[in-house]
């Protein structure tokens, strides 16, 4: 594909040639592009355009995305998502259009990519933990996501183990892990020698302090 170097109007962004331009695999390649740009920490932005929808301008540096689409009708299974990468300078003005919390978009892309499977850069047997929580006051979530997050924030765990721990929501584990990864809050820890498998269950201290309050509060509020 030829270079598409061009001014972004005010010079804020310049389109560059990219092997990820115009791909046809739904959100999978969008997730790969976000992951790869995040890993190299390059001053780059990404434009994602699902099917004929409004594009999303992803600015990983500013942790925002720019779009007139507020994600209330996020296309979870687009046939095609166009992906373009851009050079972004910290001195550039923000693109035109409403600036939105990037977490919301990355969370949706992660959960919608790879057809419910694990992203190729994640391993089902590698130990992971979370370094932060998603901003659950902003992103759509279920009680499963809260429980999974609380577990991963406090315990080093593999994806395989998570599937066993959350059997009723096992199908949702890979998508959530993909989303954590795109958010940049999933830490891969060096493999440790395996010890005897221990069940993870509430300890006596927890019972004393809250007595399983979470489940009763969930019932009380109808979550």
């Amino acid at each position: 594909m030829a270079d598409q170097s061009s001014s972004g109007g005010d010079g804020a962004m310049v389109t560059v040639a990219s092997p990820t331009d115009s791909v046809d695999n739904g959100w999978d390649d969008a997730a790969r592009a976000i992951y790869s740009v995040r890993k190299i920490a390059a001053p780059m932005g990404i434009v994602l355009q699902p099917d004929d929808r409004t594009p999303y301008l992803v600015d990983l540096h500013r942790k925002k995305f720019f779009s007139t689409d507020d994600l209330t009708d996020f296309p979870t299974h687009p046939v095609r998502v166009g992906v373009q990468t851009y050079v972004v300078s910290p001195d550039d003005q923000e693109p035109a259009g409403p600036a939105r919390n990037l977490e919301l978009l990355l969370w949706n892309v992660g959960r919608s990519s790879f057809h419910g499977g694990l992203a190729p850069w994640l391993s089902p047997t590698a130990p992971y933990r979370l370094t932060a929580w998603p901003d659950f006051t902003g992103v759509f979530h279920t009680t499963f996501h809260l429980r999974l997050t609380a577990h991963l924030a406090n315990h080093v765990t593999t994806v395989d183990d998570l599937v066993e721990l959350f059997p009723a929501d096992a199908d949702s584990v890979p998508g959530a892990m993909n989303a954590f990864s795109l958010l940049g809050i999933l830490e891969h820890l060096p493999a440790q020698p395996a010890a005897a498998v221990q069940p993870v269950e509430p300890a006596a201290d927890a019972e004393r302090s809250t007595g399983g309050l979470w489940s009763r509060l969930r019932d009380r509020w109808g979550f």
């Binding site: 659950f136 006051t137 902003g138 809260l146 609380a150 809250t210 009380r220």
Partner: protein, 189 residues
């Protein structure tokens, strides 16, 4: 009667009163008086004693919500309330002159409560002005207190739904922290 005490801590003007009002089943008990500290928070009144609300879980179980007075001159009350609490929601207004410093101050002060139970940081007023990002709060917390597992959310303290998520996450995090370590972790002492 099973009772679970949750503290709402943080500096003046962070939204503790609003947060309790968002969650409480009853009309919150508010003890406010004329604000004599207008330099610290531009607010007509500020809490000088306590805010109180409650959530009824069942006929024999309540969650009691206590908002502490934000000024440091009321530290003696913080200690009293901390003894009974299972956790805290620390509200920090993002337009505070030093919101990260405020977060670290309250985390340090209530560290015993964190060790015994848990904490959530709720960043209010992040929609006004240019305060730190959530990532900057996490980075500062990791640098000052490595190893803490504290959820940090942006909130509108007036939103019942958002405050429910914060409280829900606090309880879930307390229970999850106390679970048996996985095979990849050292047993806790």
């Amino acid at each position: 009667m099973a009772e679970h005490v949750v503290l709402f801590t943080g500096p003046m003007g962070a939204g503790k009163t609003a947060a309790i009002a968002s969650l409480s089943d009853i009309d919150p008990v508010r003890t406010e008086a004329a604000n004599t500290d207008r330099v610290t928070a531009d607010k007509a009144t500020t809490t000088v004693a306590l805010d109180y609300g409650e959530i009824t879980i069942g006929p024999d179980e309540k969650v009691r919500l206590y908002g502490i007075p934000g000024q440091t001159r009321f530290e003696f009350m913080w200690k009293v309330l901390m003894r009974r609490a299972v956790g805290m929601i620390l509200l920090v207004n993002n337009d505070n002159p030093d919101p990260i410093g405020q977060m670290l101050y309250f985390i340090d002060y209530f560290h015993e409560l964190y060790e015994r139970g848990g904490a959530v940081v709720a960043i209010s007023r992040s929609d006004v002005g240019l305060g730190p990002t959530r990532e900057e709060y996490y980075s500062a917390l990791a640098a000052a207190r490595p190893g803490l597992s504290i959820p940090i959310f942006s909130v509108d303290a007036r939103s019942p739904e958002q405050m429910k998520i914060a409280l829900f996450s606090l309880i879930l995090n307390i229970e999850s922290r106390a679970a048996v370590p996985s095979r990849y972790e050292e047993p806790r002492q």
